[in-house]
Amino acid sequence: MKSRKPSIPYIIWMVIFTMIPIVMIGYTAFTDKNGNFSLVSFSKAFQYTDVFLKSLWIALLSTAICLFISYPFAYMITRMKASSQNTVIMLMMIPMWMNFLLRIYAWVTLLQNNGPIDMALSLLGINGTYIGNFSAVVLGMVYEYLPFMVLPIYTVMSKIDPGLIEAAQDLGSNNYSIFKNVLLPLSVPGIISGITMVFVPSASTFLVAQYLGGPNDIMIGDIIDKIFWTDQNTGSAISLILMILIFIFLIIMNLFGDEEAIA
């Protein structure tokens, strides 16, 4: 039998920083301020059902848009020369080195009234407000999470043996059938990990909606952020519900693909 000793530090790490916090969150969620068992936090949490639904909807929509943009993009990258591939991937990564908050501020500056976009469109005779609404939130989310969709899809696609595409052609496939019967099924693991990597963080994200959205565009992450200062029990209950929702989502995703793609 293999020695388990080398894994001990990791196990300790996981116990301290994963297991114990989860247990603590669970404990806080099911108790009141005095530490007695109570379901009050949950009943308070369910006051935010609308926000839950809205958050999931924003996350889902952003994920879908990311997928829609990323899939053809990733495919195009795989068709480039190796050197161009690296350049494009690099260009996509560079904004991610910048602070998250800074990128959101950048969008605020771009979209605000009398900002560059507003000015440019006014010159063309189009007037409108581009910030403080639902679309701006989705735009911000797509911008934030796009690389997380492109990269896994690109990685999986670039590993598809070109011989398989030739084989499909040889057996009578036209371009559409190559896509449907070979490319798409073989890139499913990339799609699944892309969806997971975009949906999970975007469902629980905060600040994006605060800065780019209107008064009604508040996400569950923002609620947790606010409520935790005053009411840790309710905050924990909301977090727990969110965790369960994400867990259910992952199980559903699991039905579509390999387990490895999720992890």
């Binding site: 011989g163 040889d170 019967n181 070979v182």
Partner: protein, 472 residues
């Protein structure tokens, strides 16, 4: 429809193709007949796979025409050609099981489901994979994957099956049994098989006809017997089976001189006193007493090979290999006899023996006794001779004056090794530079189809002034 005499199904006419400035196929012509098992045989880099890919539609030639059943099919994509390929690496779809892999082509043809099922089941039985329908292809052994790949191509019922070294990844024993199986499948299905390999034994075992290729040209097309018994040149003789290839001189019709002895042969039409290559297969040499032999030699090595002994005999400076059921003792002197029919005469692969350069001296130094000239865009310095700049000289370099620079710095940088043939004494190597071919002899084995730097030894050269400098 009009059909040519032998029912030609695929016809390649004057195919020429270049990749990155390198000629891959140099104006090749090839006709393939219906129901034929044709093998394209050659060393790696000879253009055999490209030829197959042109027929499959994966590569378009730069010039030349591809005909299929009399119709020109240049530009027709692979999915519209009535041809299926068994790929070198099988290229099975990893996300599909055995059944779905085989059914792939039929589903695209919109065949009814029950018919697909019937055909696939039948085909899997043909390739001996009954009951494997639901297996994942990644769980199959190499030989089984191979058979799935064959089934997948065959089930589409194409006019032609192309096979690109399909047995390359299998071990020897499996390869042998698959060779026979493939031949059997071909006979059962009555399809045209075009098979690409670098394994000469595979080619001889399976084929109706063999196409021997080297360096982008077809050297010979013929039945396995033809190719083995009547090779057209030293390359083919050397590539197919074992052979003693010797330099000889055709004295007259049916008279050839090798190793200083005049022998009788059956070949005619080479002219008088023509240098030729002579092939004698090791199994065609009979061991006799020294007095009775046409040639005499000393046995230097003998190895027992099961059915026969393989002996190496030194005949002067030249080594001759003999395979015989009789064993001659190492160190003993023996005689050797060959019947005229078994002496195969071939034209030399190059029309010259000495390498001749005609050049104009560009620069020279009397004190250092050197001169320079341009060759294929490079400046070459010849030591040991002085000519005035502007002189036209003819430099004759015998094959032994050429060498492959071991240190990587040669007079010509990238020269392609086209063939290496062992001639008993040395290897005779044919090289190709940008503009011409070169003949050199070497005692070391060189790797064919590689690029090497070439050096000239001008101390072994002879010089002749064609045209002295005219003062302006």
């Amino acid at each position: 429809m009009q059909k040519s005499a032998k029912n030609t199904i695929v016809s390649l006419k004057d195919i020429f193709i270049k990749f990155d400035g390198e000629v891959i196929l140099n104006h090749i012509n090839l006709d393939i007949h219906v129901k034929e098992f044709v093998t394209i045989l050659g060393p790696s880099g000879c253009g055999k796979t490209t030829t197959l890919r042109i027929i499959g539609g994966f590569v378009e030639p730069d010039s030349g025409d591809v005909f299929f059943d009399g119709k020109r099919i240049n530009g027709t994509p692979p999915n519209k050609r009535n041809v299926n390929t068994v790929f070198q690496k099988y290229s099975l779809f990893p996300h599909l099981n055995v059944f779905d892999n085989v059914a792939f082509g039929l589903k695209l043809k919109k065949m009814p489901k029950d018919e697909i099922k019937k055909k696939v089941t039948q085909m899997l039985a043909t390739v001996d994979l009954k009951g494997y329908e639901k297996r994942a292809v990644s769980k199959l052994s190499g030989g089984q994957q191979q058979r799935v790949a064959i089934a997948r191509a065959l089930v589409c019922d194409p006019a032609i099956i192309l096979l690109d070294e399909p047995l390359g990844a299998l071990d020897l024993k499996l390869r042998k049994s698959m060779q026979l199986e493939l031949k059997e499948i071909q006979q059962k299905t009555q399809k045209t098989f075009i098979y690409v390999t670098h394994d000469q034994e595979e080619a001889l075992t399976m084929s109706d006809r063999v196409v021997v290729m080297n360096n982008g040209v077809i050297e010979q097309i013929g039945t396995p017997e033809d190719i083995y018994n009547e090779p057209v040149n030293a390359f083919v003789a050397d590539f197919i089976g074992e052979a003693n290839i010797l330099n000889g001189t055709m004295i007259d019709d049916c008279r050839v001189k090798i190793l200083g002895k005049e022998l009788e042969c059956v070949d005619k039409g080479f002219g008088k006193n023509t240098p030729v290559d002579v092939v004698i297969r090791p199994e065609d040499i009979e061991i006799t007493s020294p007095e009775e032999g046409q040639l005499k030699g000393t046995v230097v090595n003998s190895t027992f090979k099961g059915v026969h002994y393989e002996m190496s005999v030194m005949c002067g400076k030249c080594e001759i290999i003999i395979q015989s059921t009789k064993c001659a003792e190492v160190g003993s002197e023996i005689g050797m006899r060959v019947i005229p029919f078994n002496i195969q005469i071939m034209n030399k692969m190059l029309p010259f023996y000495n390498n001749i350069i005609e050049a104009k001296v560009t620069n020279s130094s009397e004190s250092e006794n050197t001169f320079e000239f341009m060759l294929e865009g490079e400046t070459i310095t010849a030591k040991g001779r002085y000519f005035e700049p502007g002189t036209h000289v003819k430099i004759t370099l015998p094959p032994e004056a050429l060498s492959l620079a071991g240190n990587g710095v040669g007079d010509l940088k990238d020269v392609y090794i086209e063939s290496v043939v062992y001639k008993g004494e040395h290897n005779e190597i044919i090289l190709e530079s940008d503009e011409r071919k070169w003949l050199m002899t070497s005692d070391t084995d060189e790797q064919v189809a590689t690029y090497v730097p070439l050096s000239f030894d001008f101390s072994k050269a002879s010089f002749e002034v064609i045209d002295a400098v005219k003062e302006d």
